[in-house]
């Protein structure tokens, strides 16, 4: 009797772990193990296959490395300018499109989401072609008499950054908007009606109803965009390739360059990898903390 129950229990455990084991093994093997190995590598000095133990010297080198400092500055610039603009735009668009009385709703929604179907490499090259000196964007601005001479977008250190920021915003605003839109479906419309009766304007109910109700989703999108922008790679490589004069190079691109452009310095490349990991972790934790009380988690 008891034998069969222990057997049954054993079978149940086998079954229950069987479901999660493949995912856990793959996760440990290709996520956690590499991170541990990477840390060990980051303590080694030397190029190619000749390496010695260097302690934390690679980490000290980070602070003296002008290219790393430049790449970090660039990446943080993208992050601080692009993410807020994009999320606010997405939120405004979602709030507008959530109005059931709006005409052409389906058209607007599809149009604004459309950029998300493009591959990152494809749209990067697209922007590269549009922002050529004689390109379509300059001609457009000149026809509107906003500028009198063409702007050398990709040849100027500041404008090149602006192009990258515009490009990411174009690609991802609709994506974030979809998250907000689907979360807005869960807000009962009668709340807005009630607010209207109480004399609240559209702006007022946006700040007092929409934003607080969407807090968990806003947190989710903020974390996703922050981690995404911190790792920015495809756009920078394909629009400007880091130039002019390293003015757009990102941290991820620098890691790639350390591996493939020069004699591979695995130790230092791993150190830079850890630097970007710490930035992502710290910023995500800050966002969790800022988002307030423990009760509203994303899950």
């Amino acid at each position: 009797m008891s034998k069969t129950t222990t057997r049954k229990k054993f079978l149940f455990h086998l079954n229950s772990w069987g479901f999660v084991i493949p995912a856990i093994v793959l996760f440990l093997w290709f996520n956690l193990l590499p991170m541990i190995q990477s840390f060990i590598t980051s303590l080694q000095k030397g190029k190619g296959t000749v390496t010695t133990f260097g302690g934390l010297s690679n980490y000290a080198r980070l602070f003296r490395d002008p290219v790393f400092i430049r790449a970090t500055g660039n990446t943080l610039t993208y992050l601080m300018i692009q993410v807020p603009i994009m999320l606010v735009l997405a939120l405004i668009l979602a709030a507008m499109l959530n109005n059931p009385k709006l005409r052409f709703r389906g058209f607007y929604r599809t149009a604004i989401f459309l950029p998300c179907v493009t591959s990152l490499v494809a749209y990067s090259l697209l922007f590269k072609s549009m922002f050529a000196v004689d390109g379509v964007f300059n001609q457009f601005l000149m026809n509107l008499h906003i500028i009198s001479e063409p702007i050398p977008w990709l040849l100027n250190t500041i404008w090149a950054k602006a192009v990258i920021i515009m490009a990411i915003t174009w690609r991802w605003t609709g994506y974030n908007m979809i998250f907000y839109l689907s979360a807005l479906q869960n807000i009962d419309h009668s709340i807005y009606e009630a607010a209207k009766v109480d004399g609240a304007g559209a702006l007022h109910s946006f700040w007092k109803i929409t934003v607080p109700m969407l807090k968990p989703v806003i947190l989710l999108t903020a974390i996703m965009s922050t981690t995404g922008t911190l790792q920015i790679f495809d756009e920078v490589v394909n629009i400007t390739n880091g130039g002019p004069a390293n003015s757009t190079v990102s941290i991820s691109q620098y890691i790639y360059n350390l591996l493939f452009k020069y004699v591979p310095d695995f130790g230092y490349a791993s150190t830079v990898s850890y630097a970007i990991f710490f930035m992502v972790a710290v910023l995500s934790l800050i966002q969790f903390k800022v988002s307030g009380d423990k009760n509203d988690k994303i899950s």
């Binding site: 856990i24 459309l114 390109g135």
Partner: protein, 280 residues
């Protein structure tokens, strides 16, 4: 008197706000759509005209297409990309949905701990994994193989989280009833859970297919020979040429974009349904 003026003013403000809203949305829509028109016009123009911002159709479509075939084997790249995207989508959805289901239906303290660990790994940037994975795969002789591109993409925190979240709303009584009917645990999963969760699976399939179709960084690092190249790698190499031929690039962009756009539009409805279940 003043009251009626106030009401009139309010109506005017409302009307202005509504018009403003339409103008804002229309500008957003035009800005979103314009680059697509730009690619389509671009495929018919020579590179020189594209960088000069020509906005009318030309007659270079066939020439551009022939030039593209000359510089790179597009069909081979298309085949590589298709094989990779389909196998990654099927395998990762199977692995992650099994796990998402397991974490909810067979919940235990130990499993919860593993789940938190996986969730935390969302913070590990792909670019941090580039160096160690490159070294690991070179030791395992998996560089420059399709398996090597696929393996790190199979167990993703996002998909596991997505399936776990959606499983929470799955009626547990159905599982219990199936158990009483004598169905095995795997049988319940494949014959009852999977068909009932179709919208969730479609949404997950769209997300995974699009991201693996467009994957760039890890294939760039791990695939080294031309015969293994994927479409994004091909068009990226065209774009990094000293004098890039944008006519060729535009055709490449169209070929790369059509499949992922098709998948999205054919499955758009189920995508929205599936997403709605998870963002609650």
């Amino acid at each position: 008197m003043t009251k009626s003026v106030n009401i009139k003013r309010e109506i005017l403000v409302r009307k202005a706000a509504a018009t403003g809203q339409y103008i804002f949305l229309s500008i957003a829509a035009i800005l979103s759509i314009f680059p697509f028109i730009w690619i389509i016009i671009g495929t018919t123009n020579a590179s020189k005209d594209i960088t000069m911002g020509k906005l009318t159709f030309g007659n270079q479509l066939a020439a551009n297409f022939n030039n593209l075939i000359k510089v790179g084997d597009v069909w081979l790249c298309l085949k590589n990309t298709t094989i990779l995207a389909f196998s990654i989508t099927v395998a990762s959805i199977l692995v992650c949905s099994l796990a998402g289901y397991g974490f909810v239906v067979f919940r235990s303290k130990k499993k919860d701990r593993f789940f938190s660990l996986i969730l935390l790994s969302m913070m590990i940037p792909t670019s941090s994994l580039m160096v160690p994975l490159f070294r690991m795969f070179s030791r395992m002789h998996l560089l420059n193989t399709k398996l090597g591109v696929a393996l790190p993409a199979l167990s993703t925190a996002f998909l596991i989280f997505f399936f776990r979240q959606n499983t929470k709303s799955f009626p547990y009584e159905t599982i219990q009833a199936a158990r009483i009917d004598g169905l095995s645990e795997l049988g319940i999963f494949f014959r009852i859970y999977m068909p009932m969760m179709k919208p969730t699976y479609s949404a997950a399939a769209i997300i995974t297919f699009m991201s693996s179709w467009n994957n760039y960084m890890w294939p760039l690092v791990s695939l080294q020979t031309k015969d293994q190249r994927t479409l994004p790698l091909l068009i990226s190499s065209l774009g990094s040429a000293y004098t890039p031929d944008f006519g060729i690039i535009m055709i490449g962009i169209v070929i790369t974009t059509i499949p992922s756009a098709l998948v999205f539009f054919l499955m758009q409805k189920s995508f929205v349904q599936g997403m709605m279940g998870s963002v609650k």
